[in-house]
């Protein structure tokens, strides 16, 4: 009697489980549901949905299934979906992702009429990022990002420095002196600069010093150069002289938060912070300023893109929507509402506020050499992203010399190039 009870129970469990398996998912055909993968930093997904309203109205059989994924787990999610044979129809990707997924993204060549015409409206760096190693176009640009410096105008004023004027045309040495002065003149201030904990942001120094990661043909590393070591050592010097707090590169504190709290006098981040600071900072005056020069003055290009994948279920509709979203009108709306620089050259965005700051960062972006994009679109360079970060910290800690740091990064990168 008792055993029977157990057997009945077990059978029930199996049946219930089996029944649930059977209750699969029914897909309606004729209707097209586009899976769109998205990550947010603010409310970009909402703006996206607003921007494509026109398309959805004109195509009532199309519905968008927007799937939000945390940025930290984005690659994981993409790899899972691709490995499972169900890549998303569309995804918002960074230039980093484009480099990582070159083999999996859907090339637009041959699938879009007059692709050249479409591409003509975008800036060169963004197109470069969107181009795969074989020369095919893997994504359409949406926003362009620029690295840049934001300063606390009031703190510099206390040191007698008109930072906006100084930064119109300044060098690293002048920058260094200004930082020393601002700390001295402000008793409560401990640090002059918060620097984003990111190799991409650090590379601003690299390019300004006249260096780069890769060789001319982008087939191998070329990182053990006097320019690269110059940039590394300058960065170390900023830490050693305590102009920069150790807790960012060595402790994961967020330099944005430090800047907002007034604990650092400036912040090297990117164009995406302008909007955030505009909403959050109320106690002091701040501005985006132009980068100082070493050998050249430069920003680093970056951007976000929209792309489809090989094997996506609704290729045609996906490309349609992608093209629609990339048109000047929708693009301008999106960039305006999300406070981003546009990747298009033919749109004038009338930001509701802080136009000057955008203009300054855009000006730096305009003088940025093409090598920043050529470097950062390399899949092999992106594979050692965390490694670069770790090595720089090892150098900052003093465990190895900066020359050794350069050598390690050089060798590690080459190990991937050689495959």
């Amino acid at each position: 009697m008792s055993i029977r009870k157990v057997m009945v129970l077990s059978v029930l469990v199996v049946m219930i489980t089996g029944g649930l398996w059977a209750a699969g998912q029914a897909e309606a055909d004729d209707e097209v549901t586009l899976t769109v993968l998205w990550f947010n930093d603010g409310d970009e997904s909402d703006v996206f949905m607003e921007a494509i309203e026109g398309y959805l109205e004109a195509n009532p059989n199309v519905t968008v299934d927007l799937q939000l994924v945390p940025f930290q787990d984005y690659e994981q999610r993409l790899r899972l979906m691709i490995a499972g044979g169900t890549p998303p129809d569309l995804a918002r990707v960074t230039n980093n992702h484009v480099a990582m997924f070159v083999d999996e993204l859907l090339p637009l060549n041959g699938r879009v009429d007059d692709l050249d015409g479409v591409l003509a409206g975008f800036n060169d760096a963004s197109i470069a990022f969107a181009t795969g190693p074989e020369g095919d176009i893997l994504a359409l640009p949406t926003e362009a990002t620029a690295n840049g410096m934001i300063v606390n105008v009031d703190l510099f004023e206390n040191a007698g420095i008109d930072i906006l004027e100084l930064s119109e045309n300044w060098t690293w040495d002048q920058w260094h002196d200004a930082m020393v002065q601002v700390v001295e003149a402000n008793p409560g201030l401990d640090y002059a600069l918060g620097y984003d904990f990111s190799p991409h942001r650090w590379s601003t120094l690299l390019y300004e010093a006249g260096g780069r990661f890769l060789n001319e043909t982008e087939t191998a590393m070329n990182f053990v150069t006097p320019e690269a070591i110059d940039a590394l050592e300058f960065f170390k010097m900023l830490h050693d002289e305590e102009l920069v707090p150790a807790s960012v590169w060595m402790g994961s504190e967020n330099p944005q938060e430090l800047f907002q709290a007034g604990l650092v006098a400036s912040h090297i981040g990117g164009s995406w912070v302008i909007n955030k600071y505009a909403s959050d900072i109320t106690d002091f005056e701040w501005a985006a300023v132009r980068m100082p020069r070493r050998q050249i003055r430069s920003s680093v290009a970056g951007g976000k893109f929209i792309a489809s994948f090989e094997g996506a279920e609704n290729e045609e509709a996906a490309i349609d929507l992608m093209l629609y979203f990339s048109e000047p009108e929708q693009n301008a709306y999106y960039c305006r509402e999300t406070f981003n620089l546009s990747a298009r050259t033919d749109v004038e965005i009338d930001y509701p506020r802080r136009t000057d700051d955008f203009a300054r960062m855009a000006a730096d972006l305009a003088v940025t050499p093409a090598i920043t994009a050529e470097d950062w679109k390399s899949p092999d360079l992106n594979k050692i992203y965390s490694y670069i970060r770790e090595q720089i910290v090892e150098g900052l800690l003093g465990n190895i010399t900066m020359r050794q740091v350069a050598q390690n990064i050089h060798d590690e990168g080459n190990s991937f190039f050689q495959e």
Partner: protein
């Protein structure tokens, strides 16, 4: 053993409460601050103007109740299943002798040693092929067979005297009857433990839902929470308030089940 708990003991216990709770208190206090106050310097411990704005926005986002429902369903159902099958398995592994018993046990423990990251893709493919993707059952059933729960049950049940079982058999009791009427009542502390743990694991689970669920309306609270960590920023106000809300059910479950840690249950005899 009657030891009066005097004021000195209470002071000691309270000290530990502060040690364990102060980050949680920090989260709670911070959730009552406005976003701009959070990063004002000098820091404030208590909110200058306490506000429930963060909670309002959390609820207003509409989806929040949906996530709460999903998490609750998953946690409750999975816990019920877990308790049942873990105690059964633990009983089998501790009180019976059969070939392969110890091998099965060690294999179970061995799988605990595998980091989930390595088997994420095979699990994803498996659930896809079984049609369990984007279903709540896909995150209820697979994790229910936790080796940890079985391990706990087995260890605990090993301490139950065999004589109880044997005398019941002599009296003619069936195996299921023994399990249900003798073992389970004696195992109340471990049942309570497994229930508490299972609820907590499913409630806080991130990896399993991440692998299985991609549609927002099936999201659990944890998936939703992780979306507040953006590429450059953390949406602290939403994150903090949702965290506080997410803790409440677990505390309730704990307080409910912990009363089964009642001493004297195994005072040597059996009452049934």
């Amino acid at each position: 053993m009657n030891r009066k708990t005097g004021p000195a003991q209470y002071v000691l216990y309270s000290f530990f409460v502060v040690v364990f709770l102060f980050p949680v208190l920090w989260v709670l206090l911070s959730s009552l601050k406005t976003q701009s106050e959070l990063f004002r310097y000098p820091l404030t411990i208590f909110p200058a103007q306490p506000t429930l704005e963060n909670y309002r926005t959390a609820f207003a986002s509409g989806r929040f109740l949906q996530y709460l429902k999903n998490s609750s369903f998953v946690a409750i159902v999975s816990t019920a299943i877990t308790v049942m099958i873990n105690t059964m398995a633990g009983y089998a592994l501790s009180k019976y002798h059969f070939r392969g018993r110890d091998t099965i046990f060690f294999v179970m423990i061995a799988t605990l040693m595998i980091p989930l990251q390595v088997i994420m893709i095979p699990i994803f493919l498996l659930e896809k092929n079984l049609g369990l993707l984007n279903t709540l059952w896909g995150i209820i059933i697979p994790p229910a067979a936790t080796p940890t729960g079985v391990f706990l049950a087995r260890q605990y049940m090993m301490t139950i005297p065999n004589s109880l079982i044997e005398s019941a058999r002599i009296d003619g009791a069936g195996e299921w009857f023994i399990f249900q009427r003798i073992i389970l009542p004696l195992a109340k502390p471990i049942v309570a433990t497994i229930a508490i743990f299972s609820f907590m694991w499913r409630w806080n689970d991130f990896l399993w839902p991440f692998i299985v669920i991609s549609q927002q309306r099936k999201y659990t609270l944890q998936l939703a929470l992780s979306n507040f960590v953006g590429q450059y920023n953390i949406d602290w106000s939403s994150l903090l308030s949702m965290t506080v809300i997410a803790i409440v059910p677990m505390v309730m479950v704990f307080l409910f089940f912990q009363k089964y840690f009642i001493k004297g249950l195994s005072s040597g005899g059996v009452k049934y």
